[in-house]
C-alpha cells in the first residue's frame, strides 16, 4: 500500500479509530501489528511470509546471542543473523545482477553459459526491513542494546507500517521502548501529524509525480541526446523529484506515526543547503547514512587506523551504499562518486585546516556541492552508462545544437520548483522544520497548509509508487 492512494486513506482512518478505542495497550499493539501486515500484504500477499521469516530468524538469533556464554557462540549467532538476512536480500535483490555478471565474465573467458530463465520479483521495501532487523541483532551483539522483552514489541518494531517499506530506517533502541508504554497522540500531535502528512503528500503527489516526473522522463527515458539546457533542467528536475519523492515519503511516515502517538527519526534536513559532502550525508537519508556508518564504516576501521584504511573504509561504505540502492553498476558508480567526493573533501580539509569559509565562499562551496551532487544523480537515474554519458555530455556542452525537447512550460515549472526548493533549504539550513514552523504567522501557516491540501486534492491522478520502494 502506498501513502498516496485512496485505499491508504481508508486504511489509515480505520487504524486511527481502532487506536483511539479504549482497548488494552496489548490489544492496540496487536491491532497495529495486524494493520502493518495488511499494509504490506496489500502490495503482494505471499511476500508477507518473507517478512515473517526475516522477523523470526533475527528474533531467535538475538535470543541465542543474548544467552550465549562464550564469545564464539555470540559471534556464531550474529553471523547466522547477518548471513541469513543478507542471503535473503541478495537472492531477491541481487540474484539477476550476479547471474548477469557471471555470464558476462564467463563470456570474456570464452565460456558460453546460458542460465535458466528466472523471474525473481523484488519484494517491496526488503532493503529497509532487512537493515532494521539486522540492526536489532547487531546492536545486541555490540552490547548497545538488550533483546526486547517480548516478541510482539519486536515484531511491531520491524513491521510498524509508517516506516516498513521506505524508512526512516529505525533502530530497535529508537522504537521498541515506545511500544512498552501506552501511546496515544494528543490533539495537537494529531493535527500536526496531519499537517506533516499533507506536506509529504504535496511533495510526492503534486511536485514529484505531477510536475517533475514528466520532465525527467522525457529526457532520461528518451533516446536522443538532449541539448545543454534540456539536460541540465532534467537533471535538476530529477534532484528535486527524488528529494520530493523520498523526503515526501519520510515526512508522511513521520506524520502518520505522530498521529498514532509515536516518534520516528528525522531522515532529511534540508540537504540541498549542504556545504560539502560530509554535510550532505548528514542531511540526506540520515538514517541510512548513519546505519552504514555504524555497521559498515566503523567496523571496517573507520578513521582510526591511518589514512589508507580510512579512505578504503570510506570508499567501500559508499560503494555498498550505492549497491544498496539497486543492483546495477550505475548505482555502484553513483556510490563510488560520492565516496570520491568525500575522500577529496577529507583530503582538502586536512590540507587546509586553518580555512574557515566566509558567507560568499560558503555559498560558492554550497553551489559547488549542489552541482556535483547533480552530476552524481545522472548515474542514479540513467538506466545505462551509455545514457548517462549522453546526458553528461550534453550537460558539458557536447550537444549545443541538439533540437530542443522540453516545452517551455516544463523548463519554467522545473526551475521554479528547484529554485524554491533550494531557497527553502538554504533559509532553513540551521533549523528543524518544527522550529521554522514555530516562527510562521498562524494565518500564513493556514494558507500554506490549505494550498498544499487543495493542490493534493486537485492533482489526484494515478498513484505512482515511491522511487525508494524499489530499493
Amino acid at each position: 500500500m502506498i501513502f498516496n492512494s485512496l485505499i491508504f486513506v481508508v486504511f489509515f482512518v480505520v487504524v486511527l479509530i481502532l487506536h483511539a478505542m479504549p482497548f488494552p495497550w496489548r490489544a492496540k499493539k496487536v491491532n497495529l501489528l495486524i494493520a502493518s501486515y495488511i499494509f504490506y500484504a496489500a502490495w503482494n500477499p505471499p511476500f508477507v511470509i518473507l517478512l515473517w521469516l526475516s522477523t523470526v530468524i533475527d528474533w531467535f538469533a538475538a535470543r541465542g546471542l543474548a544467552q550465549a556464554d562464550r564469545e564464539w557462540k555470540r559471534r556464531a549467532w550474529m553471523l547466522l543473523s547477518v548471513v541469513v538476512s543478507l542471503g535473503i536480500l541478495s537472492y531477491f535483490k541481487y540474484g539477476h545482477f550476479l547471474v548477469e555478471n557471471f555470464v558476462h565474465l564467463a563470456g570474456l573467458a570464452g565460456l558460453k553459459y546460458s542460465p535458466p530463465q528466472s523471474n525473481i520479483v523484488l519484494p517491496v521495501g526488503i532493503s529497509f526491513y532487512t537493515f532494521a532487523t539486522m540492526s536489532y541483532t547487531l546492536d545486541i551483539y555490540l552490547r548497545r542494546a538488550k533483546p526486547a522483552n517480548n516478541f510482539l514489541d519486536y515484531a511491531l518494531f520491524v513491521t510498524f507500517f509508517p516506516h516498513l517499506v521506505a524508512g526512516p530506517i529505525m533502530r530497535p533502541t529508537e522504537l521498541v521502548p515506545q511500544f512498552a508504554t501506552p501511546r496515544k497522540a494528543t490533539a495537537d500531535q494529531l493535527r500536526f501529524g496531519l499537517a506533516l502528512m499533507t506536506l509529504g503528500l504535496f511533495e510526492k503527489a503534486v511536485l514529484a509525480d505531477g510536475f517533475l516526473a514528466p520532465v525527467v522522463e522525457k529526457i532520461f527515458d528518451g533516446k536522443a541526446a538532449p541539448g545543454f539546457v534540456d539536460a541540465w533542467v532534467a537533471t535538476l528536475g530529477f534532484s528535486a523529484q527524488i528529494f520530493c519523492d523520498f523526503a515526501g515519503y519520510s515526512i508522511t511516515a513521520i506524520g502518520a506515526a505522530l498521529c498514532l502517538g509515536f516518534a520516528l527519526s528525522d531522515n532529511f534536513r534540508f540537504p540541498y543547503a549542504a556545504i560539502g559532502f560530509t554535510d550532505f550525508w548528514r542531511r540526506w537519508h540520515i538514517t541510512l547514512s548513519a546505519w552504514l556508518r555504524d555497521y559498515v564504516y566503523i567496523p571496517l576501521g573507520g578513521n582510526r587506523h591511518g589514512d589508507a584504511r580510512t579512505y578504503f573504509s570510506l570508499m567501500a561504505t559508499m560503494v555498498i551504499g550505492g549497491l544498496w540502492h539497486g543492483a546495477s553498476w550505475t548505482f555502484v558508480v553513483w556510490g563510488g562518486l560520492h565516496g570520491f567526493y568525500l575522500a577529496v573533501e577529507r583530503l582538502l580539509r586536512k590540507q587546509f585546516t586553518w580555512y574557515r569559509p566566509g558567507r560568499i565562499a560558503g555559498a560558492a562551496l554550497g553551489l559547488l556541492t549542489f552541482i556535483l551532487v547533480n552530476i552524481a544523480w545522472v548515474f542514479f537515474r540513467a538506466k545505462s552508462f551509455h545514457q548517462a554519458a549522453l546526458i553528461l555530455g550534453s550537460m558539458f556542452g557536447r550537444n549545443m545544437h541538439a533540437a530542443p525537447v522540453l516545452p517551455a512550460i516544463y523548463l519554467l515549472t522545473t526551475m521554479v520548483i528547484v529554485g524554491g526548493l533550494v531557497l527553502a533549504h538554504c533559509s532553513m539550513r540551521n533549523l528543524t522544520l518544527e522550529a521554522a514552523i514555530t516562527h510562521v504567522h498562524p494565518a500564513v501557516l493556514s494558507a500554506l497548509w490549505t494550498v498544499m491540501a487543495f493542490a493534493v486534492v486537485i492533482e489526484h491522478g494515478e498513484s505512482n509508487g515511491f522511487i525508494y520502494f524499489q530499493f
Partner: protein, 401 residues
C-alpha cells in the same frame, strides 16, 4: 525505561546537544557508534486547533468551487476515464464467466459502439475491451491465448493503430499486464475511486492541476511540442465499459478543432512497408486460428473517419493493401464503413469519432450486418427498427442549435 532495550550512551548525546545551535535537534548523524535513543518530535507552538479548523473549511470550500468549475466544463460524475484498472477489471470477466461477444480495438470501435443498442438487437451485451490509443492486435493475441474465451471477437480497425507495432502496443500491453496481476492495494483504490467518481466530476485525470498548468504553453519554445499538442479529454466512460466521445466535443468547435488538429499531427501519411504489413497478417491469422479452434470466431469492423482524415489514412495504408488483404489472408469476415450505404455521412465532431447519437446508428448498422455474416451473433426477432444516418444527423443538428 520499561523496555529492556535502552541506550547506554545518553550522557554523550546530552553533551553533543549543548553544542548545537538553537532550533536544531540531534539526529542519528550526530551520534556515531552508539545506541540511538527514542527520537524527539516536538510540536511547534501554534494554535493548531484553529488552524486545522480554518484549513478544513477552506479546503472544503475550494474543493466545492473546483467541483462546480469542473462541471461547468462538462466533466460529469460517474465518468471513470480510460485507466488501465477499469480495463483490467473488464478483462478479468473473461476468466469468470462465459463471454459470448467481446469488442477489441482502438478508440474508434470504443467510442463508436453503443453497447445498449447491441444488446437490444442481439440480447447479448458485448464486453468492451477496446483501448483508446492502442492497437487491437496485442489484445486479440491475449484473448487467443486465453482458453476461457470461446466467443466472438469483434475487432475494430483503424489502420494507423492496428498495423503500428511499436507505440500503439504500449497501452494494450500495460493493460494486459495489469489484468494478469493487480495488487490488492491498487484494486482497492480503484473500487474506492469508482464510488467517489459517482459523486465527483473533478476526478478526471485530464483536468488535474499539473495538466492544466502544462497546457498553458501553446508553443512558447519554437520547435517543441508539449502537452498542449497532445489529445485532451476525448472520452467519457461509464461503469461496464460503455464509452462515448466526450460530450463537449460535440458542440465546442474550439475544442473539437484542437482535437482534430492533433489527429492530423498524429496521423502523418507514413506509408507502411510490405514486410510490416505481412507480420501483422501472420500474427492475426495465428490468433484467429487459435480462437476458431475453440469454437469462437473473429470478425473485423472498420468505423468511419472524416474525409480529410481518411485521405491521410489511405496514404498510410490503403484499403486494398490493409483491410481487404487482411480479411483475405486470415479468411475472416468484416464490415467496412464504405460497405454500409445507409450510414454514410455520420457526424464526426473531431473527424475521428462519432457523436453519441451517431454511435448508436453505426452500432445498429454494423451489428445487423455482422449478424448476417457470423453464426455467433443472432438478431432478436423483436429487435428495434433499423436506424440510418438521418436518425442521428438531424438530432446532432437539433442539439447544436
Amino acid at each position: 525505561m520499561v523496555s529492556s532495550i535502552s541506550s547506554s550512551e545518553e550522557i554523550d548525546t546530552q553533551t553533543i546537544r549543548h553544542t548545537l545551535p538553537s532550533g536544531l535537534r540531534l539526529t542519528a548523524a550526530n551520534r556515531p557508534g552508539i545506541a540511538q535513543p527514542v527520537p524527539e518530535r516536538d510540536i511547534p507552538d501554534q494554535p493548531w486547533r484553529v488552524i486545522t479548523l480554518v484549513v478544513a473549511i477552506l479546503v472544503t470550500l475550494l474543493t466545492s468551487a473546483w467541483e462546480w468549475k469542473m462541471r461547468t466544463l462538462e466533466l460529469i460524475p460517474g465518468d471513470l476515464g480510460g485507466g488501465y484498472d477499469r480495463w483490467a477489471e473488464l478483462r478479468r470477466e473473461v476468466d469468470k464467466r462465459d463471454v459470448p461477444v467481446a469488442i477489441i480495438g482502438d478508440s474508434r470501435i470504443l467510442f463508436d459502439t453503443d453497447l445498449g443498442r447491441a444488446e437490444q438487437l442481439t440480447s447479448v451485451r458485448p464486453l468492451q475491451l477496446a483501448i483508446a490509443g492502442g492497437s487491437g492486435l496485442p489484445v486479440l493475441e491475449n484473448m487467443a491465448d486465453d482458453p476461457h474465451f470461446k466467443g466472438l471477437a469483434i475487432v475494430g480497425m483503424a489502420e494507423v493503430a492496428y498495423f503500428e507495432t511499436q507505440y500503439a502496443t504500449v497501452r494494450p500491453q500495460k493493460a494486459i499486464e495489469l489484468s494478469r496481476w493487480e495488487s490488492p492495494s491498487k484494486r482497492g483504490s480503484f473500487l474506492i475511486q469508482q464510488v467517489l467518481s459517482h459523486g465527483l466530476a473533478m476526478l478526471d485525470d485530464n483536468y488535474r492541476l499539473s495538466m492544466l498548468v502544462f497546457r498553458l504553453d501553446r508553443g512558447w519554445r519554437p520547435g517543441v511540442k508539449g502537452p498542449y499538442d497532445e489529445p485532451w479529454k476525448t472520452q467519457e466512460t461509464a461503469p461496464g465499459g460503455q464509452t462515448w466521445i466526450w460530450r463537449r466535443l460535440e458542440h465546442d468547435r474550439r475544442l473539437s478543432g484542437h482535437t482534430s488538429y492533433v489527429w492530423h499531427e498524429f496521423f502523418l501519411p507514413n506509408p507502411l512497408d510490405d514486410e510490416s504489413i505481412k507480420t501483422v497478417f501472420v500474427r492475426t491469422k495465428i490468433a484467429v486460428n487459435k480462437i476458431r479452434a475453440r469454437g469462437g470466431d473473429v470478425v473485423f469492423v472498420r468505423p468511419p473517419s472524416a474525409h480529410n482524415l481518411r485521405t491521410v489514412e489511405d496514404k498510410h495504408l490503403s484499403r486494398a493493401r490493409g483491410w481487404d488483404a487482411l480479411l483475405a489472408y486470415t479468411q475472416t469476415k468484416g464490415i467496412h464503413i464504405d460497405d454500409l450505404p445507409t450510414v454514410q455521412n455520420l457526424t464526426l465532431p473531431e473527424e475521428s469519432h462519432l457523436t453519441h447519437a451517431c454511435a448508436t446508428v453505426f452500432t445498429d448498422a454494423y451489428i445487423r450486418a455482422l449478424a448476417h455474416r457470423t453464426p455467433l451473433l443472432h438478431l432478436k426477432p423483436d429487435a428495434p427498427p433499423t436506424l440510418s444516418t438521418q436518425d442521428c444527423v438531424q438530432q446532432s443538428i437539433a442539439s447544436s442549435k
